[in-house]
């Protein structure tokens, strides 16, 4: 009886397990294997070597890009949190119907391709874009401002794409919080501000953590936005992976990809450690 049930369970688990091993874990392991070899002009990779990683650690250009990637990602994170939290708080306080409409409205921009939106920003920020034309027309500037192809343009572009993820994550948690927590705090003498700081904010940790993780990981993997708005001057790590791939430096591309993965894991770990979403789990047993 139990044996058969076991079998069933494995039967259900096996297909997704096989698929994820075949399509994710396997290639990842192979990628790692490739990253541990020399670049070869004719083959996919040469002999065993840590040269690709050594290059990343030693080359100031790579280090600059890594730092820029981190700074950009952190800027996007900070802005998304600071702008997104109040919006989420406001949405969570809406009556149920208005709330779902507001959340739906946040999803609409996600239906427009990132490519289209990136070029949209380019049209606004470019040398002959809306802003420069307007400022020039008003005689406020001598020549066009270099708005496009800057880290700021990249941050702005990413932020407008990723902000909804932050808002939706936090709003969902805030809306499902039992209002009695805040009431208990008020009964004990905490005014609205202290209730927020000591109760509502810590209890929203799961939403903040998932929002930060989503925005961070999507920032690391974004490509089009960075390519279009950052241009050649404001490359990020993901651009280097691309550049290595198109120049057939497979081991270098693999090593960069793993560096990116390491950064993703490290920062995700740091987010979890700081926000500690787990502390909120479990009320009454």
């Amino acid at each position: 009886m139990t044996g058969r049930r076991e079998l069933w369970r494995w039967g259900l688990v096996a297909p997704p397990l096989v698929i994820s091993v075949a399509l994710f874990v396997g290639p990842l392991a192979y990628l790692f294997y490739v990253s541990l070899h020399e670049v070869s002009p004719s083959e996919l990779y040469g002999s065993w070597s840590l040269a690709s990683y050594a290059a990343i650690a030693a080359d100031p250009f790579y280090l600059l890009i890594i730092r820029r990637t981190l700074v950009t990602a952190l800027a996007v994170l900070a802005l998304a949190l600071v702008i997104g939290y109040p919006v989420a708080y406001w949405i969570a306080k809406l009556p149920a119907r208005a709330r779902s409409l507001a959340l739906l409205a946040l999803l609409f921009p996600l239906m427009v391709s990132n490519v289209v939106r990136a070029y949209g920003w380019a049209a606004i920020l470019g040398r002959r874009g809306v802003i420069n034309t307007a400022l020039g027309g008003l005689g406020l500037t001598d020549g066009p401002l270099g708005l496009l192809y800057s880290p700021e343009a990249v941050v702005l572009g990413l932020l407008t794409i990723l902000l909804p993820y932050m808002v939706i994550s936090i709003a969902n948690v805030l809306a499902s919080l039992d209002p009695r927590y805040a009431e208990a705090a008020q009964a004990l003498g905490a005014g609205p501000i202290r209730t927020f700081i000591h109760v509502t904010l810590p209890l929203s940790a799961p939403g903040v953590a998932s929002g930060l993780l989503l925005v961070f990981l999507l920032t690391l993997s974004a490509y089009v936005t960075i390519a279009v708005l950052g241009g050649p001057q404001s490359k990020l790590l993901v651009s280097l992976v691309y550049d290595s791939v198109v120049s057939f430096h497979w081991p270098q591309a693999a090593a960069l990809a793993f560096t990116l993965l390491a950064i993703a894991l490290a920062v995700s770990g740091a987010i979890m450690a700081v926000v500690r979403p787990g502390r909120v789990q479990g009320g009454r047993r």
Partner: protein
């Protein structure tokens, strides 16, 4: 103005949510150091009344006073009360000590004093040694105690309890009722206790307000509420009652004669005039059973339910079904059988008489 010993006073308080009147023209006074229960069926407005005292809801009409101060327009965090919810609402991200210390901390009590107050409160609820635990690491009963400690540590003018024992199993609930009562008396706390459990209300309270459809139907001591209900609703809601319809046939200074299904009973305390239709309510434990030749209303035993300390007899009487409770130690209690013919009666003062609505 209110007397000095009234901790909570509601004056003509009404609360409507859109078209729903949750609380209608409620006035009540809660004396210092007493437990005041709001009792009634689900949806009758108990929680709303409590939330009006707390300030979580604003009255549509009327005033709320705490310790003589009109707090109608005062926000909850400036009112002197604390609250225990049925769900406890313990802060999951804080330890037991931090939960209990939350109130003192918000009131600016220093760390050292706070530590002492927390330890004292936890000792009162018998949870000393649990300071470092998180709520999720406690059983339901322990969480309940932490919620209680968190509420009493600030020595509020009034402690509000919204079905605080509702989530506990029966044994634990009865134990907590006794403990709660002892704690309240030891600390001299004024408490408002919301429950739909009539036994709990009777056990715990100095005063019970029975609510129905947003109104207070009757306020009184548990015994008065139970034994001298003002209305049929109160008589029916608190424990079982036998109801008999009859007509007043004679009156004198001591009471009246009422004819029920061709059979005359004397009742004390009747205000209705001769000829008036009335309804008599008699508690099952007030009914007396006798043999077929004894005085009283004739009836036949339909069913006998043995309940341990009591035995319940279901009778078919001339005026409808009758329920009789007897102690099983009562002489003759064990001798009746279904189908036996009996007579039942009650003393003139052991029932109440209502004018039918």
């Amino acid at each position: 103005m209110t007397g000095d010993d009234i901790d909570v006073r509601l004056a003509g308080v009404t609360k409507t949510f859109g078209a729903v009147a949750a609380v209608r023209d409620v006035s009540l006074e809660i004396p210092r150091g007493s437990i005041f229960s709001l009792l009634g069926p689900s949806g009758c407005g108990k929680t709303t009344t409590l939330r009006l005292i707390a300030g979580f809801e604003q009255p549509t009409q009327g005033q709320v006073y705490i310790r003589g101060r009109d707090v109608t327009d005062v926000p909850p965090y400036r009112r002197d009360f604390s609250i225990v919810f049925q769900s406890y609402a313990l802060f999951p991200h804080l330890t037991v000590a931090e939960n209990v210390g939350f109130g003192p901390r918000m009131r600016g009590v220093g760390r050292a004093v706070r530590g002492r107050e927390v330890a004292e409160a936890l000792a009162l609820v018998k949870l000393a040694g649990y300071e470092a635990r998180y709520p999720r690491e406690l059983s339901g009963g322990q969480q309940q105690r932490v919620a209680l400690a968190r509420a009493i540590v600030v020595r509020p003018a009034v402690l509000l309890l919204d079905e605080p024992l509702g989530a506990l199993d029966k044994m634990l609930r009865e134990e907590m009722q006794v403990e709660l009562r002892q704690l309240q008396q030891r600390l001299g706390i004024t408490a408002v206790f919301v429950t739909h459990d009539q036994e709990e209300a009777l056990t715990l309270s100095d005063h019970v307000a029975v609510m129905r459809d947003g109104r207070i139907e009757q306020v009184g001591a548990p015994r008065a509420i139970y034994e001298r209900p003002d209305t049929e609703f109160v008589a029916g809601f608190l424990g079982a009652s036998n109801f008999f319809d009859g007509v007043v046939v004679a009156r004198d200074t001591a009471g009246a004669e009422i004819e029920v299904a061709g059979w005359r009973v004397r009742m004390a305390d009747v205000t209705a005039a001769v000829g008036a239709q009335v309804r008599i309510a008699v508690r099952p434990e007030r009914m007396r059973l006798g043999g077929p030749d004894a005085p009283g209303q004739p009836a036949t035993v339909r069913e006998i339910v043995y309940r341990g300390s009591t035995i319940h007899y279901y009778l078919d009487g001339a005026a409808g079904p009758i329920l009789v409770h007897r102690q099983n130690a009562e002489p003759g209690a064990a001798e009746l059988r279904p189908g036996d013919r009996v007579r039942c009666r009650w003393a003139p003062e052991s029932g109440v008489v209502f004018a039918p609505k």
